[in-house]
Structures are given as structure tokens and as C-alpha cells.
Amino acid sequence: MSAPELELLWWEGCPSTERALAELREALRDVGLGDAEIRTREIDTDADAERAGFRGSPTILIDGEDFAGADGDEIGLGCRVYRRRDGRISPTPDPDDLREALKQAAARER
């Protein structure tokens, strides 16, 4: 198992960045990737958002791919709406979804 490339894109208009980072680090520890590096990148203009395919803060890229997919949220500066597995709306992804995506990424050959 090898660590995927991880990047968290954020926008200052949303207060969820720290929580998203903490939940991502916890998910990494849970799947045995606690040493993985997480890069962070601020998105602060509409042009940046367009270039990055940024669908709201926070957006987590695993090996360069938006792990949450491209459905739902529009590209632009905003706060991303996630839905937890129990149906609740949340500003951060469901940790189980994160763990699942990280496991799959770690299992891929690179």
C-alpha cells in the first residue's frame, strides 16, 4: 500500500478548513497512512476556481481527482455541501467516504 497524493483546496469564506483537515488526517491514520503528506492550496479568485475545477470549500483531491466527484455543486467560490451517509447535510465529507476513497487509492499501483 502506498500513499496517494493528497491536496486540500480551500476558500477563506468557509470556516470548515480546519475541521476538514483534521478529519482527513484521522481518516489517513485509520487506513494506515498516517504519514501521508497533505498539501493545501487556497483558492481565492473565480479564475482560480475555474482552473482548479473547484466546487467549493473544502475540496479534497486524491491523486489529482476530486474524490467527491463532479455532481451537484457548481464551480466557483463557495462552501461545498456534502451529505453524510445518514443523510445529514455537512460542510465536510463523511469520514467513511474518505476512508473508502483513501483505501482504494492506496491499493492502486503507481
Binding site: E12, G13, C14, P15, S16, D46, E74, G76, L77, G78, C79, R80, V81, Y82, R88, I89, S90, P91
Partner: protein
């Protein structure tokens, strides 16, 4: 501009999603008015929405009026357009009118910062509470308790013990 606890709340008149006009803070002789700055696309506003709506239902019989307001720049955020507001209200069960602050003057007058950001105004038009509905957007069991505590105090003729809390949510999307 912003309004401080104990100050007279700014008066306003805004249209709801049906085109009807609503005025505050002293319209209809309400015992208290809750002004809720919110929007369609913010996860914090959405997470707290049901709790705020339930409080609106629970306090309606006690003469409390809830007014939800969207002030976001709809040009950059089409999900917060007037049409999108209308569509949302048509699809959901809203116990309060959803008002459109197209010029953002009301949000500026109140000093609203986030969605949600709540302002409780007493029967004399003075601000009695400002801030978040409760302590955790992620815990529906909180049931907007800070808001309910403030309303109970105001309806009992007292000042809320917790008159101000930090609003938590997405920043209001101001026009350039």
C-alpha cells in the same frame, strides 16, 4: 453598520417569494421577531434549517414571527437567485416567509456576517439576541437551543442570559 444588543433594530421592507411585502421589526404586533439571514447553498445554513424551521413552528402560537432573508449576490451565486428561492419554498414546507434582500442593504444594516446569522428583536424593536441557533450545526439534538433560550427570555420580559454568540457559517456573498 451593525446593530448592538439593546439597540433599535433597523427597519426594513422586503418581498417574499410570493411577492408579498413584509416589514420589520414591528410589523403585525409580534411579541418578538426573529430575523434569519440564510441562503440556499451554504451547508451550515442547510444543516441548521430544519431546527430553525421547527422553532418557528413551535413559537408561532406565542406570537413570535420568523423572517428568513437571503442577501447573497445572486449574480455570482445563481443558486441564491430570487427564482431559486421561489423554487425552494415551493418544494419545501416553510413556516416562515423567505425574503429577498437584493440590494444587500438589510444585511449591511444588521451587520450580518454569515449564513445563518440570527437576530432576535423584542416587541419594542430592540435587539435581544444575535448569533448562532445553537452550539453545533452537526448535532440536530441541539434543537436551536440558544435561539429558544433567547426567545423564552424575551417572551418572559427578561434579557437573554446569553445575548450574543459567534455566528457560524458561510460568509455572506457581497456584491463587488
Amino acid at each position: 453598520m451593525s446593530v448592538a444588543i439593546g439597540d433599535k433594530a433597523p427597519e426594513f421592507e422586503l418581498p417574499d417569494t410570493e411577492g408579498a411585502s413584509w416589514s420589520a421589526p414591528n410589523g403585525d404586533g409580534a411579541n418578538a421577531t426573529v430575523v434569519v439571514f440564510t441562503c440556499n447553498h451554504c451547508p451550515y445554513a442547510l444543516a441548521w434549517h430544519d431546527r430553525i424551521a421547527q422553532a418557528a413552528r413551535d413559537y408561532a402560537e406565542r406570537g413570535v414571527r420568523f423572517l428568513a432573508i437571503s442577501s447573497n449576490d445572486a449574480e455570482r451565486y445563481p443558486r441564491d437567485s430570487y427564482d431559486a428561492m421561489k423554487a425552494r419554498v415551493a418544494k419545501e414546507d416553510w413556516p416562515m416567509p423567505y425574503l429577498y434582500d437584493q440590494t444587500q442593504e438589510v444585511a449591511r444594516a444588521y451587520g450580518a456576517k454569515t449564513t445563518p446569522d440570527l437576530f432576535v428583536v423584542d416587541s419594542e424593536g430592540r435587539l435581544a439576541y444575535r448569533g448562532a441557533p445553537d452550539s453545533d450545526y452537526d448535532d440536530p439534538g441541539q434543537e436551536a437551543q440558544w435561539l429558544r433560550d433567547a426567545l423564552d427570555a424575551v417572551l418572559g420580559g427578561e434579557q437573554p442570559a446569553r445575548a450574543e454568540t459567534k455566528p457560524v457559517g458561510c460568509s455572506i456573498k457581497w456584491k463587488a
